[in-house]
């Protein structure tokens, strides 16, 4: 899955905008330069996001 994430431009250091967080442990919708993606909550939980300073 790491290669697929990389192909979708979900790479370390890339800007990510969280569009929607589904309740009850549902997926997270994020926008990257590559497009808009739905990430399962466990997968999203493994991605560390730092806010803009």
């Amino acid at each position: 899955m790491a290669a697929e994430l990389a192909a979708l431009r979900l790479l370390p250091g890339e800007p990510v905008e969280v569009i929607e967080v589904m309740p009850l442990g549902g997926p997270v919708l994020v926008q990257t330069a590559g497009g808009v993606y739905a990430l399962g909550r466990r997968l999203a939980g493994r991605i560390e996001v730092r806010g803009d300073p």
């Binding site: 899955m1 790491a2 290669a3 697929e4 994430l5 990389a6 192909a7 979708l8 431009r9 790479l11 370390p12 569009i19 929607e20 589904m22 309740p23 009850l24 442990g25 549902g26 997926p27 919708l29 926008q31 330069a33 590559g34 497009g35 808009v36 993606y37 739905a38 990430l39 399962g40 909550r41 466990r42 997968l43």
Partner: protein, 663 residues
């Protein structure tokens, strides 16, 4: 340009004439272009995963034979699910003579990632800049000539749905076939140095360009052992050299080699896209998407959509059924009856044939087609809007409780059309466990044929609340089965990773074309089976053998389920096609009580009609489903699932019959 061969499963190895593969990210219009180029009718949708196998066809272009291969969508050449592995294998193991890289002009930079990878691999590439009309509407303008200059390959703007630019694409691909492109793009000096070092150590006999193979090795998308099998002398030394190169790249970039390569390719794609994009658009319809996936608005919307589907089937399908039945009784039945009686006299032969050619055909046309046709029109609209893509996100949490990711919602929903393509579609799922659970549940999802039974029997004779109740029972059974399987089968559920696509307005042409393809298959497969089934049942009936044939079933059918014995006999025929049971039951009623007595309520109570439809919906999938299930999950599992559904249906049917009698 003309199609000279039918849609056929992919053959490995060399194909006729020049082989051109259609590759691209999911949902960029590959199958639409394939259909346009070949005149064939591969089903297309506005969500990823519609193509899970290779579709091939042979066409003639200016007298030259060209084999086109429509690949499943892929973002890169790694193998994470069955459909992606099939696409990768088609490219790497049996390289085509040229690749048409179909890109979404509304998302150029991300799509160029795969294009660059294909060029890196040494394929002669032609870029089809598809969805050019959508890009224009979104305010995006791309300089195709400059893009061609930067990539070093031909670029042709196309609109697949209208056929624009497709002949030019194919002509360019044939011209480029067999000629390795001069790779114009270059990554950072560090990466290029490592690629060159690794490439120089590869044997020249590999079926890929050495530069491309070296990049794949560094990305971890190709195992050295795979190349060693072709070039044994490379062996362990190649693995060692790959590891050393990856380590040097990691040391230089500060991140794993695979990430470094991906980052460089994205950066290059971004630079190229920025140079050729005259004006940029943006992801539209975000508000609509949010409304569709947020539970507060998405669940009511889903219920509204399901209610609209249900209501259209009930009133629209019902009206059509009544219309067809009336027309058959007035216009078709009398001459058929007169002809058969004139030819065969008043004997058993004529009466048996009347079962097939009058009652049987009438049942197909008035019970099967109206509901199936209505359902497929609705499914086509839902597919092409992209709403089903939103459903995968909305239902992800629920699906996890069943041991599935939201991605499995697509084959499950597809199962409502027909279980066969839905089971083939299991290839989009990432794990064997997920495929097993989803495959089991799909066999219980009411397909269009079962929908015809539910609406043709329960809704038509008992009213919509009964049909709704039946759907409720089946939904509860599917959820309970998924919940149970999730607890029984070890290992976890893979995470959802899905691209979100903007909603699109479906075109009447595409929806009607898809409906025609599906209904045509239904008619051509169903009619002969119903005719044959009706004649066999008719022969049993007219010779009096029907009582004898129904006798062994009596303890279960009459004793446990409380159904007439002959109704149980028709259930046996449902293994051929699910709606066949009801059609034969209607035919039985017509022959038993004469025309006008096709009313099931004339010889079955409401409880019996409900129980009959419930058992028919849940028990054993049709023979075509069992066959593909065997291919997808193995014969043993297919047999277990089929027998399990029989046991479940009989058990539930008996309880339902008793409960209904008490109410």
């Amino acid at each position: 340009m003309s199609a000279v061969a039918c849609h056929q499963p992919a053959r490995h190895g060399r194909r006729a004439g020049t082989t051109i593969a259609l590759a691209g990210n999911p949902n960029v219009g590959k199958s639409t272009i394939f259909n346009r180029l070949t005149g064939l009718e591969v089903l297309t949708t506005n969500y990823p995963g519609a193509t899970v196998e290779l579709n091939t066809a042979t066409v003639r272009l200016d007298g030259q034979v060209v084999t086109l291969v429509d690949l499943p969508g892929l973002y890169c050449l790694t193998c994470t699910s069955g459909d992606q592995c099939a696409a990768r294998e088609a490219l790497l193991k049996w390289p085509p003579d040229a690749v048409v890289a179909i890109v979404d002009a509304t998302n150029l930079a991300r799509n160029l990632y795969l294009v660059l990878q294909l060029i890196d691999l040494g394929f002669p590439v032609v870029v089809a800049l598809n969805l050019a009309d959508a890009a224009q509407r979104a305010g995006i303008r791309i300089d195709a000539q400059q893009l061609a200059d930067l990539l070093g390959v031909p670029v042709v703007p196309t609109v697949g749905t209208r056929g624009w630019g497709l002949r030019e694409v194919l002509t360019e691909a044939v011209r480029a076939a067999g000629q390795a492109p001069a790779v114009r793009h270059r990554y950072s000096p560090t990466l290029e140095r490592e690629v060159a070092r690794l490439a120089s150590s590869l044997d020249g006999q590999i079926p890929l360009s050495r530069r491309g193979a070296a990049l794949l090795l560094l990305e971890g998308a190709l195992q050295p052992a795979a190349l060693a099998a072709i070039a044994p002398q490379a062996g362990a030394a190649l693995a060692e050299r790959t590891a050393s190169a990856a380590a040097r790249l990691e040391a230089a970039s500060g991140e794993p080699a695979a990430v470094a390569v991906a980052r460089e390719r994205h950066a290059l794609a971004e630079r190229i896209a920025a140079k050729v994009t005259v004006s940029r658009g943006e992801f539209r319809g975000r508000a609509a998407w949010r409304a569709a996936v947020r539970p507060a608005s998405g669940v009511p919307l889903l219920i509204a959509v399901l209610a609209a589907v249900f209501a259209t089937l009930f009133w629209g399908g019902g009206a059509l059924a009544g219309l067809v039945d009336g027309a058959w009784g007035r216009l078709a039945s009398p001459p058929i009856r007169a002809l058969l009686l004139a030819l065969f006299g008043e004997g058993v032969a004529a009466r048996t044939l009347l079962w097939g050619f009058d009652a049987g055909l009438n049942a197909v046309l008035s019970v099967g087609i109206p509901y199936v046709l209505t359902f497929y029109i609705l499914l086509g609209i839902l597919e092409d809007t992209g709403y089903l893509n939103a459903v995968t996100v909305l239902l992800d949490r629920l699906m996890r409780g069943l041991g599935l990711s939201g991605r499995a919602a697509l084959p499950l929903v597809a199962g409502a059309g027909c279980n066969v393509p839905a089971i083939i579609g299991l290839r989009v799922l990432r794990t064997e466990r997920e495929r097993l659970i989803a495959g089991t549940l799909i066999t219980m999802v009411p397909c269009s044929a079962r929908t015809a039974v539910i609406f043709g029997a329960v809704a038509y004779y008992l009213g919509w609340p009964w049909a709704l109740a039946l759907y409720g029972v089946v939904t509860a059974v599917v959820l309970a089965a998924g919940w149970g399987l999730n607890r029984i089968i070890p290992c976890g559920t893979p995470d959802l990773l899905a691209e979100i696509f903007p909603f699109r307005l479906p075109t009447a042409r595409t929806v009607l074309r898809k409906t025609w393809v599906r209904v045509r298959d239904f008619v051509f497969v169903a009619v002969p089976i119903v005719l044959a089934g009706s004649v066999v049942l008719g022969a049993l009936y007219e010779t009096g053998l029907i009582r004898l044939a129904a006798w062994p079933l009596a303890p279960v059918v009459e004793g446990w389920l409380g159904l007439p014995a002959v109704a149980g006999l028709t259930l046996l025929f449902a293994v051929l096609r699910k709606e066949l049971a009801l059609q034969l039951l209607v035919a039985l009623a017509v022959m038993e009580y004469g025309r006008g007595a096709e009313n099931l309520a004339s010889f079955m109570t409401a409880d019996q009609i409900f129980t009959y439809a419930l058992v028919n919906t849940i028990y054993i999938p049709c023979i075509a489903t069992i066959a593909v299930l065997g291919r997808a999950l193995g014969r043993r599992r297919a047999a277990l699932i089929s027998l399990g559904t029989v046991a479940l249906a009989v058990l539930l049917g008996g309880f339902a019959a008793r409960l209904l009698r008490m109410l």
